[in-house]
């Protein structure tokens, strides 16, 4: 665990200010992390579950504000809470990480999307994005977590390793495997030309 300086305006300082009763500080902190945390859950469940888990995590932040000590980065703490809550949910509901499960969709496994657009039409940005999101949801658990911590929380490999209680090298190879898998599965058109 690295000793980190608390600078005015960074997450840790804002959390400490909120612990002292400053609601504006919480609002800034929330603005900073709401999108990333929401999508972190959304990519690993469906919308209603994501909303429930998102709210639960912020409730825990609120409830533990007095006990908060900036030993680690706020975001590693936040996403550790998020990760634990998600695993609780998986355990309790035996839920699968399926994106946008529709009623009647009882396919037992996530299938990789068809990357062939057919001869009639070319893939546009929206198609590519939809395909990528499905591929991310279909990644093995640890790879998906690593990818999301990188891209939603903006974490370095060391921070990912700390959040996932593993070594930096492991985090690095998980991220590499995730990217390899995505690169191999996504339509080639999505990797070329202008976005």
């Amino acid at each position: 665990m690295v000793d980190r300086a608390i600078k005015p305006g960074n997450d840790e300082a804002l959390m400490l200010r909120y612990a002292g009763g400053d609601l504006d500080a919480f609002q800034k902190l929330y603005e900073r992390h709401r999108g990333g945390l929401y999508r972190y859950f959304l990519r690993q469940s469906n919308q209603s579950v994501a909303e429930e888990l998102f709210q639960d995590v912020w409730m825990r932040v609120v409830q533990s504000r007095k006990r908060y000590r900036p030993k680690a980065l706020f975001k590693t703490w936040l996403y550790t809470l998020a990760r634990n809550r998600l695993f609780d949910h998986y355990r309790r509901d035996a839920a699968r990480p399926v994106r946008n499960t529709e009623p009647g969709d009882d396919s037992p496994e996530i299938s990789m999307p068809d990357t062939n657009p057919g001869p009639q039409r070319l893939l546009d940005l929206r198609d590519c994005l939809e395909q990528l999101l499905q591929l991310v949801s279909g990644l093995p658990n640890v790879q998906r977590q690593t990818f999301l911590l990188r891209h939603e929380a903006g974490m370095s490999l060391a921070e990912i390793a700390e959040t996932m209680s593993t070594g930096a090298e492991t985090a690095k190879s998980r991220l590499r495997y995730a990217m390899d898998r995505l690169r191999a599965a996504i339509a080639k058109e999505c990797l070329e030309g202008e976005l």
Binding site: Q55, V62, V136
Partner: protein, 253 residues
């Protein structure tokens, strides 16, 4: 080339950052944060607010109980649950009213605690904390089967054509709708959370916000309405499997 493609994937993924939490979720979180700050800020006991509050509460309750229990004792007489309805139509008027009043106070089939005083002949109690204290947590008796049987019997009896004066002395009016109350919360956010969880599991549910004695507001999560009691019982079992003990309530709206 690999690195270039990886950057491409990262850039593409960033396009999804437009997906943000819905406004109601933002409001719920900010409300939680605001209430937490406000509660602490106005505490007269500083860091010892829990101990102080508990002490004051115990003293107040003790005094109230000592003063009130003798007068209220009759409300807690044991009531024969299973056959309470049968003699109602033949009993003298005063006895019937008394039985109804006792049932309203002793049985949770009739209605929620704060609705009990609506029974026409119930005397006005000196204190209202009996009703108020029942509300924050929903406690369900274990004998679900008995409750269901009673509800069924009530409904059958009330639908029988030869009954006299069923409307004013009923526990379960035939035109009412049945719900399962899965929880009742002071915090709206908690109610919304449970509702969303249940809706995600396929239950039809709604939040009913009630004010008790114009003081305390509770947000109830209700599953239903159910047209028949079989469906109600089935949903109650499913909720039970999820660890949610639901109580049956009847809405007369």
């Amino acid at each position: 080339m690999t690195e270039e493609h990886d950057n491409r994937i990262s850039d593409l993924y960033q396009q999804s950052s437009q997906e943000t939490p819905p406004a109601h979720l933002d409001r719920a979180v900010m409300d939680m944060a605001r209430k937490s700050v406000r509660r602490r800020a106005f505490s007269p006991f500083g860091n010892h607010w829990v101990a102080g509050g508990a002490l004051v509460g115990v003293v107040m309750l003790s005094v109230l109980l000592i003063q009130t229990v003798p007068q209220q004792q009759e409300h807690y007489l044991p009531v024969p649950e299973r056959d309470a309805l049968a003699p109602l139509s033949n009993a003298p008027s005063e006895m019937r009213k008394e039985t109804v009043r006792k049932r309203a106070l002793s049985s949770d089939i009739a209605s929620d605690a704060e609705e009990a005083p609506q029974v026409p002949t119930a005397p006005k109690a000196r204190f209202d904390f009996y009703e108020t204290l029942q509300e924050p947590e929903v406690v369900v008796p274990e004998d679900d089967g008995i409750k269901l049987q009673e509800l069924k019997r009530s409904a059958k009896q009330l639908q029988a054509p030869a009954r006299e004066e069923p409307a004013s002395a009923t526990v379960a009016a035939p035109q009412g709708s049945y719900y399962l109350q899965a929880g009742s919360f002071r915090e709206e956010a908690h109610a919304i959370g449970l509702k969303q969880r249940l809706m995600g599991l396929g239950f039809k549910c709604e939040i009913q916000t009630v004010s008790i004695n114009n003081k305390d507001t509770y947000h109830r999560v209700r599953v239903g309405p159910f047209a028949d009691l079989e469906a109600l019982d089935e949903s109650r079992k499913k909720l039970g499997e999820l660890g949610i003990e639901a109580r049956t309530v009847e809405s007369r709206e």
